[in-house]
Symmetry: D2
Subunit: 404 residues, 4 copies
């Protein structure tokens, strides 16, 4: 048994982490500090204070991290058009590094020697929390109760509550899904989703209406970009978190951003997940559009080739690593000229880019036109271009290689 | 002036290539062989025979290449989830290698020493045609009239027709767009699209209804995969071309597959293009879904990282190259177990995967479950996994590196 | 404690694995099968039989795997010009998958439910053995005594021997280094090498003379390649293992193949290692040379870009994985035309390529020459080639981007 | 014929560029400005002034660019361990961007509208000069006489000199090789090297003695690194150019740095080249060594995977491009902690790293040791690490996939 004096717990105020708070005190005979963050999950965080107090917690941290979350984590990630396995927008993954950072900062402030979290031993989140913690405070102790205790069912948890006088709200109609939410997305796992052939039920989805239920009128948005980030919508300047809240609302109302996939976890198994990422889905599409007129071709291709690796780093929990920093430097460098406006149309689940403009455009109508171009482009150049690009192939074929 | 005896011309039967046929005879005093292919562009090819005859052509090739096109080009490309610059499904690019191949084969059959095509000197297609031709017959002469002649406007072309007795159908309501079609897609360039801020007009689109006009009822499809290719729809076996025709029809009716982008051409400029790829869009989404349960994680990630490069090869015209062959070997190898059924729902522009199943699934419910897993997974393993993955970070932080 | 009935042990006949054999019987009360392989480590394997018998082992496997090792593991790896972290030729890494394979095959033959090995818990070898074992027999039990027992010093091991009547040859002058050898290399770790600033002592090296001690006369070798593998030396056909033995001898005599590096282990720490790989060093250099005239440029570049990843897979122990298989398919495909002869000169530590020739050469003197080339290459083509390759840069600069 | 008023010529003072100067005046009836740079090629540049004057040139630029060359081009390139096609250290390639930059700056200063160079239409240098020029001044005219004129033999050049009164030094014993030199290397092409089977003659090499002729005593050097660059040798601080000169001298005396390869040119053919890069060869080896103890593993691997692409950019002439800038940002970022000392031993062609130390080392003896580590590493962690890394393989094998 580790010798722990004080532990900072990522505390939601819910049943599981309340049990954990008690269990930590009992098991390790240590002080517990709770940390509850508003990352835009859509539930009040303030009630966590009373619950923590009722558990006898002395040091209680409750913080609104929404702006920091979007500005320093979500936006930098979207600069890379980041998608994991072709589909997943990393809504859960990108929130973990910020929580790790605050857990460690609070540990340093309160003199705690350990942190703890409520993630299970089967998932990615434990890895993300702990890699971050170790990178930021290498000597920290980590307590992951789900890997240690034997309270591995809801019944045992409730029994533990009864035994230790932990008050439980017995919600009726508890969701059959394991869910996670923050400003970027809400996710669903478990229940019938564990059968990849089963279609998700309509009443599972919480943030978006279905395309069927969305309005018959399209909504148009003008998104203004500066250095790869959205800074205004329909001409109105907004903070990062406000941008994302706005897009979530409008996107959700138009039925955009649902996703249903089977993904590969870092710990080795495949798992089914459903996600609602209305604002993020719009941002991804629009960012590609603004890049399409402002990024150099080779820069864009290099970004595309490195993106899966960058996405994997974030998915696997390596936000706080030198390799992510290194890639970020390159990505951010590429965004210096990614300025301008993208017009998107939202309609019943569709995100349609209908226009893009920029003072930094590299689109050159004079060169691109099918009409007379007044010498902007010399068609004769193409022959030499093709001939030399073909030279190695011609030599090979000449020497008898079969390229067909 | 090159000394040409006989040239095989990629002949559509339209105005431009009819003028080219005549111009080749006049300019090079050579015989012209015409080659017209049905690649599913949706127009009859047989009328090209009469037109060619009216131009005095003796050797006329008219061929239905639809099955070969889909089986040997489209399907192999989709095994890689191929997308250029994050958006474009390469509908034009993938048709060119087959045309090059037949041009060269016909040149060999007819004893021709040259080939010719009607692609402009500003675009990608000239590159694709010619790289293919040089790879397959290194000594072939290539005549690209648009790079040579001065008939660089519609007026001059029509004057040439008058002068040389070429019959012209003066269609009313000629499209203002430059278009290209085959079984995989139809494309639009030019006209108002040369302004990237201008929204495409609704009446430009030909293959799909708008999401607004699509039916209020969703359509469900069950797509059966064998080794990464669709072999049956709703349980009915179909040939490759039939699969794509079917998906185009159903997709188009449900408003799926429209795309409006600015892309980077190989010859160096950016250009705006609009595309309708209904069947291809469904195939991309569904293929990712069947792979999600049948591909190993690392194989999937390697494919994802190499995909942009493979896409670039095809876009740039290097289908007939040893590097494409080499990548294809790897891609095809990865598809041995990509078997099973994907269920998709089409609704007003949306392609929604709702289920996937396979006898070759790697999804292991026993391991993945949030419920009791009877020892299929040992949660304690995660601690060592995390600790050793963190080791390099812990050492670095211990030695004073700032990873935050 | 796992319930084990029979375990197959990778047995060298030395002190450590003899103790392990006994410890396994005692601890798990199970039968032990020993497996000893001749991979070209340069020590007799037959004596292991008597030692195993003296320990009471009933099922004893002793095998000469040298040809299989070189043919199916070393040669395929060298087709990729595989080097880990720019320097290391993977001599230890590449031997592990074959041992794993035989351990599992013997387990299947003898009805064993477990395997065991003598690798420590700090190194890469445990990972390589066990990943291979799990991939080939997913339900197998693995016993890694160094991670389990408390015999963590030489003294405790000797005490265990005394206690259990295990005969120990008390060699005088035991090496202070941890060593490993097979036909590809011999490695040294530990001792003074744990200080990266300390120069390795001359008497550590066993397979090569120092460059200083090597002959004053150079040795020339003609190496004949077929599909990327050496099949003859100086015109004489040889089997794979014979090729490597020959090159080790000649290379060692000429002082080539020493390496002294700090490498990054998969388990997370840096470690110092010294290696002698005389034959392998020659093979790497010569293989690049034969590829230089027979491989297409883009194929060569693709191989170069993927090589570090392939090397990492082997270093980390993923030989038996679908991603390694997939890469191997691509690598092997690239070697179809890698035929010909390379002449190398060995002199006091230097491996110098002095000539290469091939019936499959892509080197075209007519095109390459600085002399009159009779029209094989049209210099005028270069202008168009450069102009279009520069187009995106010219447009960007025209629009005010600073590329300087 | 282009309308040119004034052209800046990259002028060596030799026969070819003297003819070019005259030919430009005659052909384009334009003023000629000459630019001659000392990049460490080992010949005086001042005599070029008199020669230019004798040709009637009014504006003559002669500059010593050695420090800028090494500081801003060679050193940044070596931070990436840059090698083209596994062998070539890019000695010619890396000098071209600096010449392009100065040509354009001088064009801007003197009001010239064109630049010119003496590179042939078959090589890489024309591409490098011109891509740089177009990137830095998109409207510049480029005149490449070798692609335009018919003076395509030495005889015709000499006849032109006679005809135009250009004084020619008829050197006896003119080298049969085409050579290029700067502080980083000297190169040889042409002559008997056009046969890849022919061994280079000993008297071709100019900068290095042969290993055979090198001293019998080894030379040791201590190289001090700061942020990836060498700043001192044997404890003595030196400027970048001085470092490289010093290493060239010592390296050359010890017979290190010769290279004989067949490489793939950007314009499409293979070509044989011999190179002497004594200082660069030492720098490459030593830089890897200092990185081996100061770079994070994943950073190092990412650098290794991107290096071939970075090398190709430089080889192909894209130094002045946004994609090179972007990669450079990442590479430079990685070098923040690449500080310390590497000890190398030079002996008869061998460059042997014998020690490395750093205040920024990530080598942790406590963790790495084979001896008792006092809990720095928990061997038990390895089991979980391996188990979860194997999980996807175990599941696949369990479901019947054959991974053998």
């Amino acid at each position: 048994m580790k010798d722990i004096k004080k532990v900072v717990l990522a505390y939601s105020g819910g049943l599981d982490t309340s049990v954990i708070a008690k269990w930590l005190e009992d098991t390790y005979e240590c002080e517990v500090v709770t940390f509850t963050a508003d990352l835009g999950q859509g539930e009040e965080v303030e009630p966590a204070r009373a619950k923590a107090e009722s558990l006898g917690i002395k040091e209680i941290y409750i913080e609104d991290l929404r702006e920091e979350f979007v500005r320093d984590f979500v936006f930098p990630m979207f600069r890379a058009n980041t998608v994991y396995e072709g589909e997943y927008l990393l809504g859960t993954s990108i929130a973990r590094p910020l929580i790790s950072k605050r857990l460690i900062e609070i540990a340093n402030e309160t003199g705690a020697d350990a942190i703890s979290h409520g993630a299970t031993g089967k998932g990615n989140d434990q890895v993300r929390f702990e890699l971050g913690a170790y990178a930021l405070k290498p000597g920290v102790q980590v307590i992951a109760p789900w890997r240690e205790w034997d309270l591995n069912s809801r019944e045992k948890l409730l029994a533990y509550c009864d035994q230790h006088g932990i008050e439980v709200e017995r919600k009726k109609g508890k969701s059959p899904y394991s869910m996670d939410a923050n400003l970027l997305h809400i996710s669903y796992e478990g229940g019938i989703l564990e059968n990849p052939w089963a279609e998700a039920e309509e009443d599972m989805w919480r943030w978006t209406v279905s395309p069927e239920q969305a309005p018959d009128e399209a909504t148009y948005l003008d998104l203004t970009y500066e250095k790869g980030d959205i800074v205004a919508i329909n001409g109105e300047s907004m903070s990062p978190a406000t941008v994302l809240e706005y897009l979530n609302k409008v996107g959700g109302a138009n039925g955009v951003g649902r996703l249903d996939i089977v993904e590969n976890r870092y710990v080795g198994m495949k798992s089914r997940g459903c996600y609602e990422t209305p604002g993020g889905s719009i941002m991804l599409k629009a960012h590609r559009a603004i890049e399409s007129i402002t990024l150099d071709r080779e820069v864009a291709h290099l970004k595309d080739e490195l993106m899966p690796r960058y996405a994997k780093l974030i998915y696997n929990g390596y936000w706080w690593s030198p390799e992510r920093e290194m890639l970020q430097k390159m990505i951010d460098e590429s965004q210096q000229h990614v300025n301008g406006i993208v017009r998107v149309k939202l309609y019943k689940g569709n995100i349609i880019v209908v226009g893009r403009q920029s003072d930094d455009t590299l689109f050159d109508e004079a060169v691109a036109t099918f009409e007379e171009d007044a010498g902007a482009y010399n068609q004769g150049d193409a022959e030499g271009f093709i001939k030399l690009n073909a030279l190695r192939l011609r030599i090979a074929a000449d020497k008898g290689r079969d390229l067909g």
